[in-house]
């Protein structure tokens, strides 16, 4: 087993009363694509910025390639690539000029310029002022800058937030294309599909803590529940009358208990019992849906709130 490229031990960061990172321990292997998921205010950005050396932890240790930010700042900066949330560039520099500038800041010559621009599909836009780029193009420019030093670790903070589905997919494709190079990726997002599409490993974060850590299939398996039943009734759901097979299940109710959702391990087993109960109680079933469980369902079951919710 190769040694971890990123290692966090007992990392704590607080802002006044708010604990942004609460005693975090984490170890990442080379080449892993890691999705850091959580709602706004979960502490994702703080965690990523501490790994980037932009913020310092109050307590604990962060090591990249076994080196610390305190002693090897320049060295680490040259080996990682990053993009912050919503960076804007010099309005009246072109795409090409902007990438050129950052090449010089990284001490890289510009012979890869065309290659980089092609990689993020901005070749045709290279002479456009950055102020005239669309949101997706701007994010791809940020990605170009993150990639130009051929980083071994790539840290992207919400690279697709606010983008339309097509632009989002463009970014995913670029990230999938560079995967064979062995880059380690940490990506924060509150889009489930993003983590599902890109990441080998998913970290759930909320209130400064890592709640779950594993591959998508592992996480879903761990929960032991893999399917979801959604329903809507004509009058409030009364759990006290549920038969024994159903009473232990984690029902989540909404809209004055008229709507509900329940995670189950087997729909074929549970659904007939549920329908029988509905009939015996004289409910009218206004809507019924059954589907495979997603990360979103899992997250809600763990935290009681959705990933795209705000604090």
């Amino acid at each position: 087993m190769s040694s971890p490229v990123i290692e966090l031990k007992g990392v704590v960061k607080t802002f006044g009363d708010l604990v942004a990172c609460d005693n975090l321990n984490l170890s990442l292997n080379p080449g892993e694509y890691v999705g850091l998921l959580g709602p706004n205010g979960a502490g994702k950005t703080t965690l990523v910025e501490m790994i980037e050396g932009v913020q310092q932890p109050d307590k604990g240790e962060i090591r990249l390639f076994g080196k610390s930010w305190d002693t090897d700042k320049r060295h680490l900066q040259s080996r990682i690539g990053l993009s912050f949330q919503e960076t804007r560039f010099f309005d009246k520099l072109t795409v090409k000029e902007t990438v050129k500038l950052f090449c010089s800041l990284y001490g890289k010559d510009t012979h890869r310029l065309g290659e980089i621009l092609d990689q993020v599909r901005l070749g045709e836009k290279q002479n456009t002022w950055t102020q005239d780029l669309s949101g997706g193009q701007r994010q791809r420019l940020a990605l170009a800058i993150a990639l130009l030093n051929e980083p071994e670790i790539l840290l992207l903070d919400e690279p697709t937030t606010g983008l339309d589905p097509n632009s989002r997919r463009d970014i995913w494709e670029i990230l999938q294309q560079i995967k064979p190079q062995g880059t380690t990726l940490i990506l924060t997002t509150h889009y489930m599909e993003e983590a599902e599409a890109l990441c080998d490993r998913i970290l759930f974060m909320d209130h400064g803590k890592i709640l779950a850590d594993g591959s998508l299939s592992n996480l879903l398996k761990q929960a032991g529940l893999s399917e979801v039943i959604h329903f809507e009734l004509d009058r409030p759901f009364e759990p006290s009358t549920l038969p024994s097979l159903l009473s232990e299940l984690p029902f989540e109710l909404q809209d004055r208990r008229l709507q509900g959702k329940v995670l189950v391990d087997s729909v074929t087993e549970v659904l007939p019992v549920f329908l029988g109960w509905v009939q015996s109680q004289g409910y009218e079933l206004k809507e019924l849906q059954s589907r495979k469980m997603t990360l979103d369902d899992l997250f809600v079951s763990m935290t009681g709130r959705g990933l795209e919710d705000n604090d």
Partner: protein
Amino acid sequence: MIRQLMIAQFKTLTREPGVLFWVFGFPIVIAWVLGVAFSGDQVSNHQIGWVGSTERLSQTAGFVAEPGGFRLSGLQPKSEVLIIKVLSPEVALLQLKRGQISLIVTNSPTGLTTQMDLKNQEAKVSFLLLKSGLNPAPSDLTVEEVTSKGSRYVDFLVPGLMALGVMNSCIWGIGWATIELRMKKLLRRMIATPMPPAALLFAQFANRFLISLLELAVLLTFSYAYFDLTIQGSWLALLVLVFAGNLAFAGIAVLMASRTSSTTVGNGLVNLVTMPMMIMSGIFFSYQNFPSWSWPVLSHLPLTLLADGLRSVINEGAGLVDVMSSVAFLVATGLVFGLAGLKSFKWY
């Protein structure tokens, strides 16, 4: 509809404390500052120089002898006071060049000759006051327009404008630009590269210095073509002064831009730094129009030091040695403000 629009716009105005200050507070501050300069017993002092015998003054009612010269008060309007400094011809010329006096009257056997720039409003007012004080106006009082280089109002003005250019270039080009970089999160993105942070500031400074050299060249060429203004002193002194001036204002700009990432606050800071100096540093009129107790402070403002230094080189033929104390003061200002700014600088 119009009413609701007005209410909404008014609310956005009143909920921005910075804007409130610039709309209501700032004009009051300026009114107060200029009020100190132009009102009360101090302010409407018009200073002129007198060369030669003063017999005529001591014999005329209204002219009261005082140390260094005479004072003419009791004029219409009542607040106007004419101060007549008795000077040697050389000192009178120097003070005229520095804007400390607006005209020179030379009393010679052939009569009273007034040397003044007819384009200078202050000189005209002083001349009229003198004329009314000498009532009836002496028949031998003649006016000679000052045309010798270095003594005209434009000679006073152009170096001041150069200094103003250096200040604005640094405050906007370094101060404001840095605040904008921070606002866009571009500053932190650049700092997250292996680039040393100092490189960014150095590049900004070097840029500003080059731009101010260009500005200097343009203004000098224009002034030479239109006003026949030439540099009487040392070119090296001029360059060193401009460099030191850039350093001083770069330092101030770094301190100004050290914390904020809000361009609204940035706007306020720019005004806060530039406006007082623009008014009080003697760019358009001599700071000696302000009360004398304020002179030691005003004369050491960086913009005053730079403007006066440039004037001495361009108009009075000063060399490097003559401007060395100004240069030292400017460099020290830049270092003190710049280091203070770097100490509290928010890179991320």
